[in-house]
Structure formats: structure tokens, C-alpha cells
Symmetry: C2
Subunit: 267 residues, 2 copies
């Protein structure tokens, strides 16, 4: 879904080079049909001629690909990725990818659906796309400038973060919301008629529809920060429990409303 959306977005923004897809025959067929890629190719063939290598599979597959990529790349190429956690991926690239530049990335746009059939050329428009260079100079190489130019043209809002800081921030802004939603759905699902609910439960359980296949790797590669985020969340909930009838709860509501307002203003 992410890879095919990137292909569609590039096309819509006027990119006229060749776009090759590396995936299963079925996924390749679906991506060609969607107009997201020109054709499929084996990894070695595709990477051997690519200016930009965009890794958008699960984190586990990205790590695996990075282990084998070095002999295949052109030295003037840029390898980047769309993995939802960055420390393990950036570490792996630093260790294994020596012959060309790597720049970690995380487009913060998603859907609960997967595959090229759900691809959307406008997916990244107005959404944050994090880049995690080790040094600011990595953003200024010719190929990195070229890549950033295309991110601008597809409407992404580029933010630069240290990969460790990225993983800490998303543990709170992305991974915790997912687990909060899944846990809520699991608890609310115990009532006999969960349909007796306001529209709030619908909003709060949208994320719970997400596939575990994608989350397994996220949880495994960011478990220290996620553990800390869950601990903070649990502590806040315990504090609420102790203050259901006190003024302290009013402050919790005010803090929450301030963040909700700030997010809505930003987007």
C-alpha cells in the first residue's frame, strides 16, 4: 500500500522515469494494474539500475533486504525506507550498506487496508514524512536533494529527527494509540451488546482493526520505548482512577483538550 502509493504519487507529481516493483507476482500485477509501477523485476535487476531504492515492506523484511543489498546497489544510488521504527533499520544499514548512501525515512500516513489495490496518490499530501540522517549533511548530497524534491512535490511535510528520538516520539504518538485502541476494543468487546455505545467507541477502535502482521515487527523493534509509553499511560489512568471525583480530573481533561486542539490546528 505504501510502496504503490509512493509510485502513484510520483507519477501524479510528474516523475517520468521507470518505476520497478520488487514483490510477489500477485502484488506486482496489482501494482501494475493500479498504475503504481511500470513492471516487476527481481531484486538484483531492479536495484542494479535504480537511482532510488525505496524499501516499503514490513520492518523484518526491510532488515532482511538491507543485509543483502550492498553488492547490488549503484554507488550513486540512495536507499531509503518506510519502516515505522528507525533505530534497528538505521543500525543495520550503517553496518551492512557501505557502497551507497542510506537515509532512514518514515512516511506517517497509513490505512487499515494493505496492498496496491488500496494505494492512493494523495496519501502523503500534508502528512509528516520523517527523515533520520545521522548528520545533517546527509540531506544535502545530490541524490538526497533530488529525493527531498520529490517528497515536496508529492505534498509530504518533511521533518528531520534523530532515529532514537523518532522511536521515542512514535512510541507515544503512534504505537501507544494503537495499543490503547486494541486494549479498549478487547475490554469493550466483553459486554454483550457493544453496539450500545456512542460514536466515540467507533473512533477509538478504528486502529484496533489493524493487522498484527504489521505490528509484530514494530513491537519487537521498539519494545523499550513502547514499554515506557505503556507505563506512562497506565500511570495516568491509575491517577484518574484515584481522582474520579476530584478537581484533579478537571486538569486532566484540560491537558487532554489542549493537545487535541493543538493537533487539530496543526493538521
Amino acid at each position: 500500500m505504501i510502496g504503490a502509493s509512493f509510485g502513484l504519487a510520483l507519477r501524479r507529481a510528474g516523475f517520468d522515469g521507470e518505476i520497478l516493483g520488487v514483490s510477489s507476482p500477485r502484488a506486482v500485477e496489482s501494482a501494475v494494474e493500479a498504475g503504481a509501477i511500470d513492471r516487476g523485476a527481481p531484486l538484483a535487476e531492479a536495484v542494479g539500475q535504480a537511482d532510488l531504492v525505496f524499501l516499503s515492506s514490513t520492518i523484518g523484511r526491510i532488515l532482511d533486504t538491507l543485509r543483502h543489498l550492498d553488492p547490488l546497489v549503484r554507488p550513486d544510488a540512495l536507499v531509503t525506507d518506510a519502516g515505522s521504527t528507525k533505530c534497528e533499520i538505521v543500525d543495520m544499514a550503517r553496518e551492512k550498506l557501505r557502497r551507497c548512501q542510506f537515509l532512514g525515512g518514515h512516511p506517517m500516513a497509513g490505512k487499515e487496508t494493505r496492498g496496491a489495490a488500496s494505494a492512493d496518490a494523495a496519501l502523503f499530501k500534508g502528512r509528516t514524512w520523517v527523515l533520520t540522517p545521522d548528520e545533517p549533511a546527509e540531506l544535502e548530497t545530490p541524490i538526497a536533494r533530488g529525493f527531498r524534491g520529490w517528497l515536496d512535490r508529492i505534498g509530504a511535510v518533511v521533518e528531520t529527527l534523530d532515529s532514537d528520538e523518532h522511536d521515542r516520539v512514535v512510541s507515544l504518538t503512534s504505537h501507544l494509540p494503537q495499543l490503547a485502541s486494541t486494549a479498549l476494543a478487547s475490554v469493550a468487546g466483553r459486554v454483550r451488546r457493544p453496539e450500545i455505545s456512542g460514536s466515540g467507541l467507533i473512533d477509538m477502535t478504528r486502529l484496533a482493526a489493524s493487522s498484527y502482521d504489521l505490528w509484530r515487527d514494530i513491537l519487537a523493534t521498539n519494545s523499550a520505548y513502547i514499554d515506557k509509553a505503556l507505563a506512562d499511560y497506565i500511570q495516568t489512568l491509575e491517577h484518574m482512577r484515584e481522582n474520579l471525583r476530584t478537581r484533579e480530573m478537571q486538569q486532566q481533561f484540560e491537558r487532554g483538550a489542549a493537545l487535541a486542539g493543538r493537533l487539530r490546528q496543526a493538521l
Copy 2:
């Protein structure tokens, strides 16, 4: 917002009787402007001529009004309400309102905004409207049948629940989602740039924008069940924390996705 939406919905469904509003001069003016009521009136005057008395203020104000309503009502009238918790309201009505019938109600439709200016004639369409009679026969009196007829005509889906069971169910399907959202916004708000987030955080913090004014009374009148709901939620989150890297997490995701799917099918 709820009272004015009910007035608008009745008008759109063809109700041609008089609709009186009891509120502050400013709220009355806004409701008249919205077409939700014909005019404002003091409580005694409005209740003295009403077939249906619909109490849609905060729970605290509903309880207060119930204390004073008995001498004012017509014996063939029906008093009902829109309070988000039912046990305290139903108990108060049972004790204080002797001269006419009371039927507890809870339209499960809401917005984060308040007041007649946000009123919406379609607010209740397809949404659950819980009624909490002590005995099924209370639904079959002429005035209760008349009221239920109008609920059908405005598109509400009536569900009948014992008031204690109502308060238990909504502690999990409505009050817990609110507190989960507020706590999440409070925790995610601690990062310097919460805008670095996926669309999930936006969904998960919509409820956090809700006003504490409405929630103070809900928390105070359903604290035992809310305490239990929070405890269940915290236990589930602790269990997740201990299982970030195990297969147990997959089961949590599957349970969550099942509830998310079921809710989406129902609505």
C-alpha cells in the same frame, strides 16, 4: 445541543404541537433561531401544559429539576430525560416524581460542541436511544407508546435496558473510551512535537476535546462502574506490556479486530 436537536428532529418528523424551551434567555433565543423550539417559558408554565417533559441538561441539573417537578406536572404527562447515567436519575424520579410517569432515557448521540447552534435534526438517526423502564409495562402506557412512536419517526433505534445494566455497559462503551482518550492526549502531549504522528492519534484524541463540565456529573454518578472499567483496561494494558514480544499479543490484536469489525457492521 441534545434538547434542540430533539426539537428539530420532531419538527422534521412532522410534529405540529407546541415545543417550549426552559433555559437561559440566551439559550432560548438560540434555540428559537435554530427552529428547535417555538418559545421559551418558565419551568412551571412549560411543565404545567406539557404532554412530554424532556430533561436534557447535565445530570446534576436533571437531578435538581426532578426534585422540584412533582407539583408542576400534569398527571397524564410523561417525564423522560437524556442523562448519560441512569441509576441516580431513575432513583431520584422514583422517590420524588409521584404524580406522573417517568421513563429514563439515554440517546447515545453526541458532538464535542454544545448549545442549540450545533443542533442537528438528523442527530439521532440510526443511533441507539436507550430506555430504562423498571418494568416492561411502563413502555406500554398510552403516553409512553406515543413517545416511542416519535423516537421511531426521528430514526432512533430504541434499546431497553435495566438502569443498572445501562450504567455498567456505558462505563465500558462510552465512559472508558472518553477517559482512554483524555489520558492518551495527556501522555502524548508530553512530546515536544506531537504533530509527528499518524492519523491514529487524531482519531484517538477526538473525544479528549470534550468538555469536563459534562463529564464531572457522569464520573460522579457512575464512579463504581467506571473504576471497574478502568481497572479492567489497566489490567489489559499491563498484560500487553508483559507480552510485547509474545504470541499472546497476536490474540489481543485478534480480539480487538473482532470487536472493531462487529461495531462497524452494526452501524
